[in-house]
Symmetry: C2
Subunit: 154 residues, 2 copies
Amino acid sequence: MRINLICFGKKNDPFIEDLYLQYLKRLKHYTNFNSEFIQVKTKGNSEEDQLFNEYQKVIQIVPKESVLVLLDEGGKQFTSVEFSSFLQSKFNTGAKSIYFIIGSSYGFHKELYHQANDKISLSKMTFTHQMCRIFFVEQLYRALTILKGEKYHH
Amino acid sequence: MRINLICFGKKNDPFIEDLYLQYLKRLKHYTNFNSEFIQVKTKGNSEEDQLFNEYQKVIQIVPKESVLVLLDEGGKQFTSVEFSSFLQSKFNTGAKSIYFIIGSSYGFHKELYHQANDKISLSKMTFTHQMCRIFFVEQLYRALTILKGEKYHH
């Protein structure tokens, strides 16, 4: 199963980018992982317009038969072991790809909430979307080592 | 109030260290922040011995009249705004220093749980202690900008 991470905005912190690339290197040994940024014009747009534009970009990218998971403050909280079970259950569906999406500062368009298969919260605390990317790849890496019965997660 | 972060183990990831230093630079404009690593012999020691040795190092470092807060999976979860209010309430006590402690993989010695003023959980998920340091300084920075009414937290 191909695992994808979509994020809005742009890469603007070289230190986070360096760390992120380290996790991408590690993930290569475990899974087919792909991450991308979506840029949407924000200047002069209302919150509703921005969310709608983001929604439209997402549905252009995500194939209909994929699993769609929003990383959202109001989502379900997992322990790392629970998150690995969650991933396994998605692998078991036989779907070809899963897309995790980190929302912009306004969250997600209501249609995206409606279409999503699941909502996950990494923490009650708010982080920059850049920091969310780091959290996510570390947890993804951890989950895959848990599923393989490896030592990384203690 | 001096804010301190104590972590067990050692700095072993140069990419995390680089990112951490970026937050330290930012924090300098807001607070008197200090972070340190405690190293305790682990080889050949039982879990109980290790926790006890860590406990002893902590009480050597932390002055008795300080506020002591454990970053612990079983702790209270805050939103970022709640965390900033928590910090403000500690500032209001007039204590000279507050110590946040990131536990080792075994958690904390029972005496440390007993002596701690508070327990905070950053996430239900498990992160490496290195990653916890990044989370913590980003949230500390965010909390201080919230208390100053600045724009960083949206």
